[in-house]
């Protein structure tokens, strides 16, 4: 009984189709299944939302258009017109993280972004893209990112060191922010659920069991806000970091 009420059990990765390639475990797991569901849901939103190009949009078309406009405005405001070449990347990233967070709120699903390796892969991809584009586009001038203008020569070594450390902390903070938000939310929900079950099984105390249930409802509403907000923060920080690659130097 204690194992079923353990809040960490929901994060276990169970293989569905076992597969071993070159000695590595490449099984199709529940995580892979939900990533597939997320990609299909995002494609369905965009494909079916834009299939009928009516002037007065239906709900689905409106949702697809609003998502497109929202991310396009965000990219244009943070990274300028040259940043628009990254718009497909940021849009895919935003939709994937948003759907991953939202689908995880449905009971009995697996939250893909609650695994640090998934969020770290995204953060590493973003920072890798920033460094690669910065170096290809600006060459050594990209290192001007670490040297703010108007700093006296005596402070320069310390400032550069602080700027480098702050740059290195970007992928870590980007990945851990999303991962910890999702992990914390789901653990809290599971612990509250455990309280409801424990109270119901304790005889006379069953009368106050609706209290943790009301807390779960309120927490799910809060988790909905956090899911959307964290997807938005991930996307906008991606745009800000890409702006650093496009226009290095403060």
């Amino acid at each position: 009984m204690a194992e079923a009420m353990d809040p960490i059990h929901q994060f276990n990765i169970e293989p569905i189709v076992k597969l071993h390639l070159f000695g590595l475990d490449a099984s199709f797991t529940n995580a892979s299944l939900f990533m597939l569901v997320i990609v299909l849901a995002a494609c369905a939103l965009m494909l079916f939302g834009t299939s009928k190009r009516s002037i007065v949009p239906s709900r689905l078309q409106s949702a697809a258009e609003m998502a497109y406009e929202f991310v396009a405005n965000t990219v244009r405001m943070s990274a300028g017109n040259e940043g628009m070449k990254f718009f497909p990347f940021v849009f895919s990233l935003f939709l994937f993280v948003l759907f991953a967070n939202l689908i995880g709120l449905i009971p009995y699903t697996f939250t893909v972004t609650s695994q640090i390796i998934v969020t770290f892969a995204f953060a590493a991809l973003v920072i890798g893209l920033v460094i690669a584009y910065g170096v290809i586009r600006h060459g050594a001038h990209f290192l001007g990112l670490f040297v703010p203008s108007g700093v006296s020569i005596w402070l320069l070594p310390f400032i550069v060191l602080i700027e480098v450390i702050s740059f290195i902390s970007r992928p870590i903070s980007l990945s851990v922010r999303l991962f910890a938000n999702m992990l914390a939310g789901h653990i809290t929900l599971k612990v509250m659920g455990g309280f409801v079950a424990a109270l119901l099984g304790a005889g006379a105390y069953a009368i106050i069991a609706p209290l943790p249930l009301a807390a779960i409802v309120a927490l799910t509403a809060f988790e909905l806000l956090v899911a959307v907000l964290q997807a938005y923060v991930f996307a906008i920080l991606t745009c800000v970091y890409l702006n650093d690659a496009i226009h290095p130097g403060h």
Binding site: I8, A180, N181, L183, A184, L229, Y232, V233
Partner: protein
Amino acid sequence: MDPAAAKFIGAGLAAIGMGAAAIGVGLIFGNFLSGALRNPTASDAQFGRAFIGAALAEGLGIFAFLVAILLLFVL
């Protein structure tokens, strides 16, 4: 000290960091509200930025919670 007891004490201490994060988020939105009441027309444009600031501040509180969870369930 018994290592399991030390872990629980450590987790409790790490969770205090969330109070600091709560103060940070409250400061951001408090400043946003006081500015919005002085200049309501400008408040809609900056509303998104308030949420970005709050998410960044809340992120650090989440890191504190993460340390507590790591102590309890992983180590």
